[in-house]
Amino acid sequence: MVDLTTDYLGLRLTNPLVPSASPLTRDFDTARRLEDAGAPALVMYSLFEESIEASEAAAARFFHEQAIGYGEADSFLPIPDGYLSELEDYLEQLTNLKQSLHIPIIASLNGISASGWVQYGKQVQEAGADALELNVYYVAANIDESAAEVESRYIELLYELKQHVSIPIAMKLTSQFSSVGHFVKSLEAAGANGVALFNRFYQPDINLETREVVPSLTLSSSYETLLRVHWTAVLFGQVNLSLAVTGGIHTVDDVLKALMAGADVTHLCSVLLKQGPEYLANLLSGLDAWLDEHDYASVRQLKGSVSRKHAIDPSAYERANYVKVMDSHRSSSGVWR
C-alpha cells in the first residue's frame, strides 16, 4: 500500500489531488461527489472582488430604484427576506460544506485591491475555512508602475491579511513576474504558507464584428503543466512554504511530473469539469498504481525527486535548455527558409 498522504499549508491531506477553485464547489452535491471520489481537500470557487462589488452595486442600485419619487409607486420590486449578498452566499456555502464534508475546505479570494480583503479573510475564517487561497489578480497595465511596486502590492496585502487572519494562506500567482523565485521568497518572508503556480488568465479577446473587447477562457491542456513544473522544480528546496501546481493537470503523468518537480499538491479543474467529479478517483488509482509499479512507498518519497536540486541535469531547468530546444527545431523538408 502506497502512502499517498501529503502536507499542504500545514494540513495533512490523504493524497495530493486537490480540486481547485472552480464552479464545481458551487453545487453542494458536486462537492460531496468530489469528496466521495477521494478529494483530500477542496478549494472553494473564488469569491471575486469585482463580483462582490458588482452584486453590491446592483443591490444598491436596486434599493435606490425602489423609490423613484413617484406618487403611484412607493417601490418596484419586493426584496425577499432571504435575499443574500454574494459574500453572504459564499460564507453560507462555506459553512454548509464545512458542516457536511469531512475534508479541509480552502476558501479562495480573487481580486486586486487591499480594501475589503482583511474583512473577507476574517469572515471566511470565521465561517470555518481551513485555509485561504489568495488570488491577487492584478494586471500591471500602468506602465509607470515598476515591477517592484507591483510586487510590493502583493506583499503588503499579504502582510496586512496575516495580521488579522490566523489560518494558513496560499498565494496563487501568475507566471508574469520577472523573478518568480525571488518573489516567492519575499512572500514567504511576509508570512505566506504556500504558493500555487500559476493562475490561468481570462484573456481579453476582440469580437471582430462588434469590435468590442470580450473576456475569453479556454480550458487548460496538459501542455500548460510544463511551465508550472518548471518553476516548481526551481523553487523546491529553496523555499520552505508549500507548493501547489495548478493549471494543466489532466493526467496521472501530469500529477507525477508536478510531484517529482516538488509540488505538495496538484490542483484539478478543467479535467474535472470535462470528465466529471468521479474522474478524480481514476487519477487517484492511476497515481497509486504508478507509484506501486515503480516501487515508491509514498508520495513523500517522490516529491522533489526531479527538482532542480535533484535533477540529473539541473541546467535543463535553466537557459541552456532553451538553446537545446531551439536547436532541436527543424522545419519540414521542402519549406523555403
Binding site: 434599493f63 423609490a67 432571504g82 469590435r211
Partner: protein, 1201 residues
Amino acid sequence: MNAPDWLTIDGNEAAASVAYRLSEVCAIYPITPASPMGELADAWSAERRRNLWGTVPQIVEMQSEAGAAGAVHGALQAGSLATTFTASQGLLLMIPNMYKIAGELTPAVLHVAARSLACQALSIFGDHSDVMATRQTGFAMLCAGSVQEAQDLALIAHAATLRGRIPVLHFFDGFRTSHEVAKIQGLDDDCLRALIADADVRAHRARALSPEHPVLRGSSQNPDVYFQGRERVNAAYAAFPGIVQQLMDRFAASTGRQYRLFDYLGAADAERVIIIMGSGAEAVHETVEYLNGQGEKVGLLRVRLYRPFDADALLAALPATVRRVAVLDRTKEPGSDGEPLYKDVVTALAQQQMQDGAKFAHMPRVIGGRYGLSSKEFTPGMIKAVFDELDKATPKNHFTIGIQDDVTHTSLAWDADYRTNAHDGFVQALFYGLGSDGTVSANKNSIKIIGESTELHAQGYFVYDSKKSGAVTVSHLRFGPRPIRSTYLIGDNEAAFIACHQPVFLQRYDMLRKAAKGAVFLLNSPELPERVWDSLPRSMQQQMLDKQIRFYCIDAYRVAQEAQMGSRINTIMQTCFFVISDVLPSDQAIAAIKAAVEKTYGGKGRRIVDFNFRAIDAALAALHQVPLPDKVTSDFERPATVAPGASEFVQRFTAELIAGNGDAIPVSLMPDDGTFPLGTAAFEKRNLALEIPVWDAELCTQCGKCPLVCPHGVIRSKLVPQTLLKNAPAGFKSHKVLGKDYPQDHVMMYQVAPEDCTGCGLCVDICPIRDKSNASHKALNMAPIEPLREQEKANWAFFLTLPEYNRREVKTTTIKGSMLLEPLFEFSGACVGCGETPYIKLASQLFGDRMLVANATGCSSIYGGNLPTTPWTTNAQGRGPAWNNSLFEDNAEFGLGMRIAVDKQTEYARELVCDLKGWIGEALAADLRGAEQTDEASIAAQRARVQQLRELLPGIDDPRARELEAVAENLIRKSVWIIGGDGWAYDIGYGGVDHVLASGRNVNILVLDTEVYSNTGGQTSKATPRGAVAKFSAGGKPTAKKDLAMLAMGYENVYVAHVAYAAKDMQTLRTFLDAEAHDGPSLIIAYSPCIAHGVDLSFNHRQQDLAVKSGHWPLFRYEPARAAAGKNPLHLDSAAPSIAYKDFISTETRFNMLWRSHPDVAEEFLARSQQDVNKRYHHYKQLADLPWEEEHGDEKPTKER
C-alpha cells in the same frame, strides 16, 4: 410615551395591519393610493406572518377590482373572513358585488383609500367621490380621519361587521391619510381579541354554503316578494349604529381611545358648528380649539359612521345652542341641490324639527360646501372663512372653499396667512429633492428615528410631481410635543428648515416663500462656501436677507462620490438636517441614521453600509454655515418657467402649473370639458442631462437608428436642401445625404434637443458605426453638456425652423426614411430610458397626422396626459394625434367606439358626396368615394380632394351640403390606435381586447408589454414571466406568461405581431406599417424593458436582444393577408433560441434575486421556463411551417361539395 406600541407608519399600513390579522382571504388588485395595502398583505403572507387565529392568510391577485369583489363575495359565502383594498374607479367596479354582499347580510370589510373619480380628468388624489358613489349599496360606511384612526377604525369595522352582519366600507383619505407617515399607538393582538368575538366568527362560518348543510342563496324573486325581501333587513340596519358605538366603547376601555358615531368637539354652547368627515376634521379640530381659545364659541361635529346614518345620534351630539351649521363635503354631485352629507344633515334636522319636542328652538340654518377635491389643500384659513361665513346674515349656501370660482362664484374668500398656534414649539421642515435621489426615503427614515427615539409626535407628507424621470419631491415634516392634526401642507413663512437637495431647483422654484423668519436654508451645491451666495438668484438673496435666513451649504455630490456612493446623497443630507436642526443630539441622531442604514443594507452588502457610514461621517466636515452679506449681489433672476414663444394659454395656465402655482388657477381658466392643447411638453425645459450625444457627421452613415430608439424624442433627423442652411448658426452640423433615395442637393442632420435630453445614452448605444481607427469613437458619442448647452440650444432652435421633408417623398419602409417623419410625441416625462415610448413615437411619426388614440390608464396615460404638459403634439399644419384616456378597464371598447364613429361618419360623408355629386361633379365625387389611401401620396391626394370639396360646399345651397361640411374630414382615412400596457391588455381589459379583436373592425392595438403593472409599482400581471419576482409574486411567479398573441391568432383575421425594436428594428417598422394597413384588427405586442425589471435601462437594448435570442420574446408576424394569398400567415422573424434562457434572466434583478433568496426554487423555475421557451418555439415553428396552400387547396372542394 415610548412604550413599544408606538409605531411610525402610514395610513395604509395602519389599516392593513389590522385587516391582515383579521382575515383569511384577501383578494387584491393594484390601484393608487390603495395599492400598498394589498402589497403589504401579500408581503406578510409571503413571509408567513400569521393572522389572529394563527394561520397565514391567502392573498390572491385578481384581474380587476370587479374580480376582487367577486372573489371576496365567494370567499365570504364559503365561510371565510375576507377583505379587499381599493380606491376610486376600482371601488366603482365593486359596486355590483357590494349590493350582493350587503343584500345577503354578509360580514365583510372593504378598506378604501378614498380617491377622486375620473371625470373631466383622472386624478390619483384623495376625496370622497368614490365612497359617496357606494352609499346606496347597503354597506355601512365608517370614516377614519387620521393614521391612528385608520388603524383603530379598521378594527372596529371588522368587529362590527361580524357582530351586526352589515358589511362595512372603512375609508380614509387617499394620500392625505393613506400616505401620511405619523407616529401612532399600535394595536397588539390582545387589543384585537378584546373586540373580535369568536362566537361571531363561528356564526359567520355556520352561515357558510356547505354541502353538509346545503341551502340556496341568491335566488331570483318576483313582484310578489322582492320588495318584502328588501325590507326584511331593516332591523339589522337599525341595530347597527348601536353595535358600532358599543364596540367603540369597548375599544376605549381597552385602549383609552374613545370614538363615537358622531364626535363633537368645541364649545358646549357653540352657535356655529362645522360638520365634516375624514382628514379635514383634523384641521377643523385644530382650528376650533384655536378659535375657542380666542374666545369664540364654535364647534366641530365629526362624522365617523356615515351609513347607516343615525340621525338621532347626530342630533344628540350637537349642542342645543347651535344656530348655524356648515356641512362640508369632500365630493361633488353635479346637478344636485347639495352634496350627500349636507342633505343628510338637513334632512335630519328637518325631521327633528317636525317632531314634537324639537331640540332646537329654531331650525338651525344649514349651509353646505365643497372642499378638498383631489387632495386640494384645506387649511385653518379656509376653516376660519367657513365659520366667518356662518356669522353672516345670509351665509352663502352651496359654496366652495379652497379655490377661486370666478365663473359661478361659489367660492368663499379666505385669508391665506391665517395660522393657528398649533405649531408653537414645533419644527416644520421642507425638503426639495429629486425622486431618484432618495430624499423621500431618507425623510421617512428621519421621522421614524424621531418618532421612535424621542417623545415628540411626528408627521411626514410627501408631494410628488407627475414625472417619472426627474420627478421633484417635496417632503413636509413636522415634529412637536403635541399630537399633530395639521392635515395640510406647511404654508408660506412657516418652515423653520428648508433643504434644497438639488442645485438645479434654484432656477426653478421659489423655495424660500415657505421659509419662516430666521429659518435655516440648507443647499446642496457644488459651489465653494465663499462662492455659493453668488450662485443664488437675486430674488432669493433678497428673501434671505429679509427673512434673516441661516444659510448652510454642502457639496453633497462630492461627498457622495468620495464615499463611493455615486449620486446617492440622501444620508448625507439627512445627517446635515439632524446636525443643524437639533431635533436630537447630533451623536444620537447619527447613530440612529447609521443603525437605519445597517438595517436596510446590512444583509445585502457590507460595503454599501461602509460607504454610507463614510458619507455620513464626511457630511459633517463638508457642511458649512455661510454668513450672509448685507446686500444683494446677484445679477440674475430665475428664468421664465416656460420657453418664449409659448401660447397665451401656456403662459397663463401651463406655466403656472409648472411653477407650482396651480392652486391659484381660477375656475375660469379651466376648460369646461377637460380639453387641452397639444405640444406643451416642448415648453417645459427640464435640463436633466449631464451628458448629451454629439454627432460626428462625417462618420455617420445616416442609418436613422438613433432617432428610432430615443425614448424622449430628443434626437431628430431632417433632410433639407443645402441652400436652407445659409443662416445656420456657426457650429451647426449637417452632411450631404448618403444614398440615392433622396435628392443629392440635400443635406441630412441629426440634431439633439439639449434641454429636453435626459442623457440616457441609448442613442449612442444603438449607433452601429465606429471609427475605423478608433473603436471607442462612434458616429454618436456622449459628452458633458456644459460646454455644449448654449451651442446646441442655438442649433436646436435653428433646426426647428427648417421645414420637414415632404411625407410623400419619404421612403417609409426604411428606418432612415421613416425617421425623417416628424415625431408627434416628444419630451415625455417617462422614466429615463423607457422601453415603451419609442413605439408610441414611431406610431406618431408614421400615422400621427391622422391618428386617434384611445389610451388605457397606466404609465402611457400618465406620461402621455398628466398635467401640466403633454408630449402629444401637432405638425406645422396643426394636425396630430387626438388623444383620450377613458379608463383602465375599457380601453379597447373605447377605441372601438372611436372606430365605429369614424366609420359611420365616413359612410355618411360618402352617401352625402353621392347625393351631392350633381354639384360637386361626377369625377370628384367618384374620386372622393373611390380613393384607395394606401400610402402617404394617396392620402395626400385625398386630403387635396377634401379641401377641394370644402371649397365647393359653401356654394351649394342644400342642407346636405351643411351636413357634409361637418363630416367631410372623415373621407380622409383615420387611423385608430388603442394603446395600453399589459395590465390592461392581459388582465383588466382582456375581455374588451378579446371582443374588439373578434369584432373584425379596423383598429390597431398596441400593447406596451413591460410584463408587470408598471405605473402602480410593478405588480404581477398575467404577462409576468414564470420565475420573475414582482409584487404579489414575492417568491417568483409560479405560472407561465400568458400567450396573448396565440389567443389572438385564433381569430385568423387579426394581424398579430411580437416586436422588440432594439432587437430587430426593421421588423418593428414593417409591423407597424402592415398592422396599420391591415383592414381589420391588429395587435402589436411590444417588448418594453422597464425599471421594474431591475435593470439599468442604459442596457435597454441589450435586454431586448437577450429576450429575443433566448426565445423569451420570439419575433413574428401573423398576417391574415398572407393567408388570403394562399400562404401561411405566420412568419417567424427571429431564429431559434441561440442562447440559454439563463443567460437572459441572469441579467435582470427581477429574476436573479430569486437565486439569492430561494436558489432551489429559482432553478426549478429556470428549468421549466427553458422548457416553455423551447416548446413555444417549436410550436410556433411548426405552425409557421405548415404547408398552407395544400391545406387550403384541400379544403376548397370540401366547401364546394
